[in-house]
Amino acid sequence: MNLSLKPAAAEGETLVDLATTPLRELNGALHKLAADTNQTLWKIANPAGRHAIAAGLDVPVTVEIDGPVGYYCAGMNKQARVIVHGNAGVGVGENMMSGFIHVKGDASQAAGATAHGGLLIIDGNASARCGISMKGIDIVVKGSVGHMSAFMAQAGTLTVLGDAGEALGDSLYEAKLFVRGSVASLGADCIEKEMREEHRALLAAKLEAAGLLGEVDMSEFRRYGSARTLYHFHVDNVSSY
């Protein structure tokens, strides 16, 4: 591989300019990192909306991307911290297993889709289908989320400081949804649920992880979850399927 890297600005820091380095080389280099690598901080310049930047990582390194990214940024992430200084395209953090992704702008559709673990923070808004089929990830959106968010969400939490679009939590399993603002409508089998002490503790933990504990009034959040009427086929529910 002929990776054209600039000299490291500091020990353990690697600078990659995607205006001159092919994305494939960057991702290849990230995939080759050993678990005990000293190259623990990667700073990526000029992403220009390219797709799949820092996808498929499996090492405890930090990748900071200076600008907007395209589709599937940090998809399948395991262990890594990925920070996007800009907007993210479709499917940011899709199928994340663990680690941390922080989008400092807006995210497009299907943010955190099918993700099993880790924490995804979006400073701006996320559009439609945020957390679709999430399986254990924690997602915190400081703005609002679009329609069909948490569709078929199975586990994990979705915390929204702004509003939620139509059909929130449609066909929801056991993911826990906390929304501070308005909810345009609830999807099939999604209902508002009582906020008990254990849920307040859970919400507090997620807000703390996102650096928001004490910044927002916890009492403003409402909890939504599954009514569990669609778990098994029942003819009375046929119109809901």
Binding site: A48, G49, G67, P68, Y71, N87, S108, A128
Partner: protein
Amino acid sequence: MCGIVGLFLKQPKLEPELGALLSQMLDIMCDRGPDSAGFAVYGGGTPGFVKLTLRGPAGTDFAALGAEIDHPILARDTHGVLSVPVAEEATVRAALARLAPAVKVVGAGARMELYKEVGLPADVAKRFKLEEMSGTHAIGHTRMATESAVTTDGAHPFSTGPDQCLVHNGSLSNHAGVRRLLAREGVAVTTENDSEVAAAYLTYRMRGGDTLGEALEHSLGDLDGFYTFVVGTESGFGVLRDPIACKPAVMAETDDYVAFASEYRALAGLPGIETARVFEPEPAKVYFWDRAA
């Protein structure tokens, strides 16, 4: 997939660069649709004159044809543009049909010029010298054919009324029914392409008195399927996504322009993009800008 782009300038200063900017946006969208490409540019016009964009078979001698009809035709590869007094439009169209039946009028209006061909979008833009064109706004399309064949007729944009054009990413599920409605109303749809039906639907609504914004609002109720539309009128620029928002869209707005693309990559090279307001247009919400307003 298909890729669509649009650029609407709010200030005159970028007008000389319109074609170059759109060309660069179209190039980047090649990998969303390598089958064909097209674009419409709203450039200069002369009051009292109508601009006709012609498309002919490869090798059409537009200079000779222009001499025959007594109106010079500016040739750009397979296309040619001529400007005729409004009062003579019908006569000129009739003469063209008689003298060169293989040459079609693909666009007409006070300011719009429309070019489209099969082939790699980057090559199509080069053939028509898009980068040299200037104007106030332009839309473009790179096509991955799904609902109809890879032909020049199936390429976008579609223009079904004066200075009106539309590019579409998606597929309409009720285009056959809408096509029948339009036929009953006397609105011509000349290809088998579902996107032309959408263009013609907007023409039909605007002919009935709708503004572009109102026509787009009505589309939400009457057009079924997946779509992101970008449309142009003589002074306006509109964007509409279906309520499910199946097809991607991203916009950027600065004091100088409003830009649309299927993906952010196509916006990355625009001047001032670093400080632009970049946002995703919401589903089922009509976005509309007009320079005349």
